[in-house]
Amino acid sequence: MRARYLPVAAFAGIIIAIQLTTHFTESAYHLTQLTMTAYYSLLVVGLCMLTGYAGQISIGHAGFFAIGGYLSAFLTTHNLVPHQGTAFVSLLKKAGLLAARPDLYGGEILNVHPWAACLAAILATVIIAYLIGGPVLKLKGHYLAMATLGFGVIIYRIALGTTLLGAADGISDVPGFPLASGVEITGKASMRVPNYYAAWGLVIAGMVLLLNLIHSRVGRALASIHGAEDAAEAMGIPAARYKLHTFVLSAVFASLAGVFLTHYNGGIGPSEASVMKSVRYVAIVAIGGMANLWGALSMSLVLNYFSLRGYFGSYDDAVFGAILILIMLFAPDGLLRRHLFDDMKRMFSGDADQEAP
C-alpha cells in the first residue's frame, strides 16, 4: 500500500513546490492558470479511469463538465425573487437552501446556495449518466464513439440555444463557492493561493480515490473486463453494471470539475461543452498512457497549462488534434507505458510487407 501512496506524496510535494516558487519569484499570477488546470485535470483522471480501466471511449465528456457547470451556474444566478410566493421556493427557503445577495443596484436577489446547487448538479449528472450510460455502453467500436460524440454535441446545442442558459454568451456573474473559514472558490486575486491549494487538494483526493479503486476488488474486476469481458462474466463479474458504474463515476468527476471551475471563473460558456474540448481530454488521456492515471495527470498539468497560457496560440486545437493523431498512429496504448521501447523497435524494424487495414 505504501507503493500506491508514495507518488501521491511526491505529487503533493511538487504542487507545494510550484506554489512556493511562484511566491518567491513574485509570479503568483501563474497560479490562476494552474488552478484552472487542476479542475480540468480532475475531469481527465476520471476519463482515464473510464478509458483505461473500463475500456470505454468517450468523446463527449465535456458534456458532463457542462452539465455540472451550467446547472450550478444557473441555480446560483437565477433570481428567485419573482417566484418568492410559490410553495416550492418557500420550501427551499425554509430548508436553508437559498442564499441572498445584493445585486448591482443595491436590491436583493435570491439564488440557490452554491452548496445546494452543487449537490443538485451532481445529482442531475448521476441521473443523466445512468440514463444514457445504459444504452451507450452496449454499443461497440465506432458506434460507441459516435454516440458519446453525439451526447456531447447535444449538450453543446442545448447550452448554445437556450436563452435561459445565456445562449451564446453563457452565464456570468456566478458567485464564489464558500468553503470553510471565509475561503471561497473564486477568481479574486486575494484568494489566489487558497484556491490553488483547494483545487489541487481536490485533484489529489480524487487521485487517491481512483488509485484505491484500481487496487481493489472492483479495480481488478474492471481490468479483467477490459482484458476479456466474457471470461470476466464467467467469473461472476457483472460487466455491464460495472462499466456503467465506472461511466457514472467518471461523469461525476467531470461534473464536479465543471461546478468548481465555473465558480472559480465566475461564469461558463457553451464552448466548454464543445467537441474540441472533449477531443482535447481524450488526447491528453491518450498521450498519458490510456491506463495510466499518473501519466494522464502529468500530461494534463503540462498541456492544459500551456494551452491556458496561450503558448499554442491560434494553433491550440490543431495541437491537440496532432497529438491525437501521432499517439494513435505510433503508440495507441499511450506514451508512458512499460513496453513502449520494445514496441517502437518492433514497429521500425518493420516487416516489408505490412498490410494496410
Binding site: 479503486l213 476488488r217 481490468a223 476479456a228 470476466a232 464467467a234
Partner: protein, 253 residues
C-alpha cells in the same frame, strides 16, 4: 443426485440447427464428457449451459434452479464456472491476479468500499490472495505467480485458466477442451489435475477431443453429432457403440 439437467435444449443459427433437442443429466460428484466430431455443437452447448447464449427452446436446470436465459455472471454466482476452448486469460495481469479474479464472487468490496479503502477490504484482499496462492500450489504453478499470465507456455496457461475457474469454488466446472494444444505429457498432467478436482468434490462436465483423456477421466460419455445426442453411456460401452464408430470413423467396409 442430479446437479445439472439439460432438457430438450435447441439452438439454431440462421439455417443451421447447431443443437437440436439435446437432453442429459450430470450427477453430482461425477465427471461427464461431451464428445463428437467437429461441428457437433459441443461448444455451443457449453455456451448455452453457462449463459453465453440463450437457448431457442428447452430447459437447463442447475441444482433445482432453471438457468436458461440467465446472464453468465448470474449463473456463475449459482456455482458454475468454466474454461474456454481458446484460452481467455486476462492479458497484462499476472498469474496470481488472474486467479484472484476467480475469487471475485467471494468478496463483497464494492465501488465505494474500494475507493475509500475501508478496513474490511484489507483482510478480504488478504484472504483472496492467500486462497489464490493455495490454488496455484495445488496445481503446481505457484512459482509463476508473479509472471504475466499470457507470457507462459501454452500448457501452463491452460493450468492457470483451470486455477482461475477453481478459485470460484464452483459446484460444477465446465472444461472446454482442456487438452487442446497440449502434448501427451501435458495431457496426462491435465488428467491428473482433473482427478484432483474431483477429489475436491467438484462435478465436472468436459468437452474434449482427446480420447485417451476422455476414457481415463470420465465416468460417463455423451456423444453429439450434428447437434443431436446419439449416445450416452459408460466410456467402454461408447467405444464399442456402432453408431459412434460410424460417426467418427465412417462406415466399416
Amino acid at each position: 443426485m442430479t446437479l445439472l439437467s439439460v432438457r430438450e435444449v435447441s439452438k439454431r443459427f440462421g439455417g443451421l440447427q447447431a443443437v437440436g433437442g439435446v437432453s442429459f443429466d450430470v450427477a453430482r460428484g461425477s465427471i461427464k464428457a461431451l464428445i463428437g466430431p467437429n461441428g457437433a455443437g459441443k461448444t455451443t452447448l457449453f455456451n448455452l449451459i453457462s449463459g453465453f447464449l440463450p437457448p431457442d427452446s428447452g430447459g437447463i436446470v442447475f441444482e433445482g434452479t432453471p438457468v436458461q436465459g440467465m446472464q453468465p455472471f448470474e449463473i456463475a454466482a449459482l456455482g458454475m464456472s468454466r474454461t474456454f476452448q481458446h484460452i481467455r486469460l486476462f492479458p497484462k495481469m499476472t498469474v496470481l491476479e488472474n486467479v484472484m479474479v476467480g475469487r471475485h464472487l467471494h468478496g463483497r468490496a464494492g465501488f465505494l468500499a474500494g475507493m475509500l479503502n475501508l478496513p474490511f477490504t484489507w483482510s478480504e484482499e488478504r484472504r483472496i490472495r492467500e486462497k489464490s496462492l493455495e490454488i496455484l500450489e495445488l496445481l503446481g504453478i505457484a512459482d509463476s505467480a508473479r509472471v504475466e499470465a499470457t507470457s507462459l507456455a501454452y500448457g501452463q496457461q491452460r493450468v492457470v485458466e483451470l486455477g482461475r475457474a477453481l478459485a470460484c469454488e464452483p459446484k460444477l466446472l465446465l472444461l472446454d477442451e482442456p487438452a487442446a494444444g497440449l502434448n501427451m505429457r501435458e495431457t496426462l498432467e491435465m488428467g491428473k489435475l482433473i482427478g484432483k478436482v474431483r477429489n475436491m468434490g467438484i462435478t465436472v462436465l468436459l468437452v474434449e477431443h482427446d480420447m485417451s483423456l476422455v476414457m481415463t477421466v470420465s465416468d460417463e460419455v455423451v456423444v453429439l453429432c450434428y447437434g443431436e445426442k446419439i449416445a450416452e453411456d459408460l466410456p467402454l460401452a461408447i467405444q464399442k457403440n456402432p453408431e459412434v464408430i460410424r460417426v467418427y470413423l465412417g462406415e466399416v467396409q
